[in-house]
Every structure is written in C-alpha cells, then in structure tokens.
C-alpha cells in the first residue's frame, strides 16, 4: 500500500525559538493582536510504501530518530493517509 505521510517537526517547549519570536514580533507589529507562543517548525512530506498504516508509522518514527528530528530540541507529529489512485 502507498501512503502519503507528513512529519511535522517543531521546537520543543522551553527551547528558545528565535524564528518564532521574530515572527511573533513582526505579526504584532503588523497589527495582529493576542498572539503568543508562536513557533516555527518544518514539514517533511513523502510517499511511502508499507504493508499497512501501522508499519508506515513505525518506519516514519525510525526516520525521525535517525535523521529528521533532533529529539534534544525538537518534537514531531506524524500523520499518514492512504494515497489516492
């Protein structure tokens, strides 16, 4: 089966996110009110072939610990859905 997967990587809570701070400051300067805790992360999107959704997630978790995510300062969230024909 082929799945579309998205890995959302964001800075851990408590880790200084200078990009998030700069974005928050600029949005506030543009007049947007009530903003807090703006965090900037990244998305890694891919097609992945696996026996099932569970197997795809196991592979993606392994990719996160091997390369995609630095668990010291980042956290990740995986979402998977079956690719359409």
């Amino acid at each position: 089966m082929i799945f579309m997967a998205e890995v959302l990587i964001t800075p851990r809570e408590g880790v200084l996110d200078t990009q998030g701070k700069a974005v928050e400051k600029t949005l506030t300067r543009l007049g947007y009110k009530g903003l807090s805790e703006v965090r900037v992360g990244k998305i890694v999107r891919m097609k992945i072939e696996a026996a099932g959704e569970k197997e795809a997630i196991v592979d993606l978790e392994s990719m996160c610990s091997d390369l995609l995510c630095n668990d010291l300062v980042e956290t990740y969230n995986i979402s998977v859905k079956e690719a359409g024909q």
Binding site: V15, L16, T18, L67, N70, L72
Partner: protein, 237 residues
C-alpha cells in the same frame, strides 16, 4: 604524527585548516572526501572543518553527520585519537552525539562574522594542555547557528564535569560568561570536550587567526602549537 581533514560538500574552511596544521605541526595533512569509508593512513588527528555541509539542510551538520566517513571518524575517536570540530564541524559532532548539546540559531537571527574573544576554561584535555588556564584568546567567529544549547540538567552536568573548554570573554577584564556571547550561547559556552578529552568542538575559528598580516591576529597559533606539543611529548611526532 598524521592528520586528516574531512571534506564535505559545502565545507569552506578545509583548506584554511589544512594550511594551519601543515605550518604549525609541520606535517602532511590528508584531505578526505566524506564519501570514503576509511582513511588511507590511520591519522592521529581528524578535523571536521567549518562551512555549510549540505547547505545546512534540515539542521546544521545533520546530513554530514550521517556521511559514510563518520563511522571511521567515530572508530578513530573510540581508539583515543584526537577529533576536532570547528564551527560546522562542532555542529556535526553534536549531531553524531559524540559531543552533547546542539547549536541553535543566534539570538540576533543574523549571521555574525567578526573578531571574538574566548577564555580557556580548562587545560585537562588533548588540545589546550599547553595553554594557560584562564588566558583570553582572539579567535574570529563566522556563523548563524552558534547558540550552544543543552537542557538545564544536562548543562549543569557538563559544567560540573569541567568539560567547558572555551567560554566567550571580555578581553579587558578577563571575565567570561553568557553576557559576552555574541550568539546567545548558554553560559557563554564556545567550546566543549568529551570526558576523555580527545574530542573537542568549538564555534570560533583558530585556523583563521594564524597569519599576522590578516586581521584575525595570530592567537590561533597558540592553539595549534598546543596540539603539536601534546604530540611531541607523547613521542608520536
């Protein structure tokens, strides 16, 4: 004594380091492409140089840390060989987990390239043993991700075990600490070593402070000479 400099796609301080080592230590330096799986001759010193390996994609040093040569680099360090990471090389060492922590973007969010002062915080390692404790040296910096970060508990452990080797400092007073870090590095940390003292990572560039008529000064020579003397005393040079 033999030295090797690993070259990654995007390394840009590899030749500066090669020259600094060749002229200070009077030895030939092997330049090793990162796709190789081993060194031609077993080196005593391996350097991971500065630059932008793989364009800093994903995270600084992340992709270089998974290069084929890294297995040989790790084995070299496990045997007690000297392993030095400068700037991007330091970032690569943290990505391999051979050194703790990580380097986050500077608090200013800007690339900082300028003169910089660091204080020698300990001399009980293979790199700074011939320097004076608490002496202040001028090594230039040039980086965008230089904010040394470790969670609080681990940072305390690093400090308590005396593994901070260089700290950003004020040359006038000789004081060192976070307030002198141009990049927001926690506790003003500019360089650290492993427990055995044979792996050192630092953000400033000692290889850029070796030629008098260039603006970087010559304090870097003291650093390279210290490494050279370590080898002379061990009888391997």
């Amino acid at each position: 004594m033999k030295a090797a400099v690993v070259v990654f796609p995007g390394s840009n301080c590899d030749r500066d380091v090669e020259r600094a080592i060749r002229e200070s230590l009077k030895i030939k330096v092997e330049m090793v492409w990162h796709e190789k799986e081993k060194f031609d001759e077993q080196p005593d010193l391996v350097v991971l140089p500065g630059g932008y390996s793989y364009g800093d994609y994903l995270r600084s040093g992340a992709i270089a840390a998974r290069s084929p040569i890294i297995k040989a680099v790790r084995e070299h360090a496990d045997r007690g060989g000297l392993l030095l990471g400068i700037c991007n090389g330091f970032q690569i060492l943290t990505e391999t987990k051979m050194l703790p922590g990580t380097l986050l973007p500077n608090t200013s969010l800007t690339f900082i390239c300028r003169e910089c002062y660091v204080r020698v915080e300990q001399t009980d390692n293979k790199f700074t043993s011939e320097l004076n404790n608490k002496e202040v040296l001028q090594f230039p910096i040039a980086h965008h991700e230089g904010l040394f970060f470790l969670p609080e508990g681990e940072l305390k452990k690093l400090e308590d075990s005396g593994r901070v080797v260089f700290r950003y400092a004020d040359p006038e007073t000789g004081k060192a600490g976070a307030e002198f870090a141009p990049n927001g590095a926690l506790n003003g940390i500019a360089g650290i070593c492993n427990e055995k003292g044979n792996i050192l990572g630092l953000m400033p560039h000692p290889e850029r402070a070796t030629i008098a008529h260039l603006n970087g000064g010559t304090d870097g020579n003291r650093f390279w000479d210290s490494i050279a003397r370590t080898f002379t005393e061990r009888g391997t040079c």
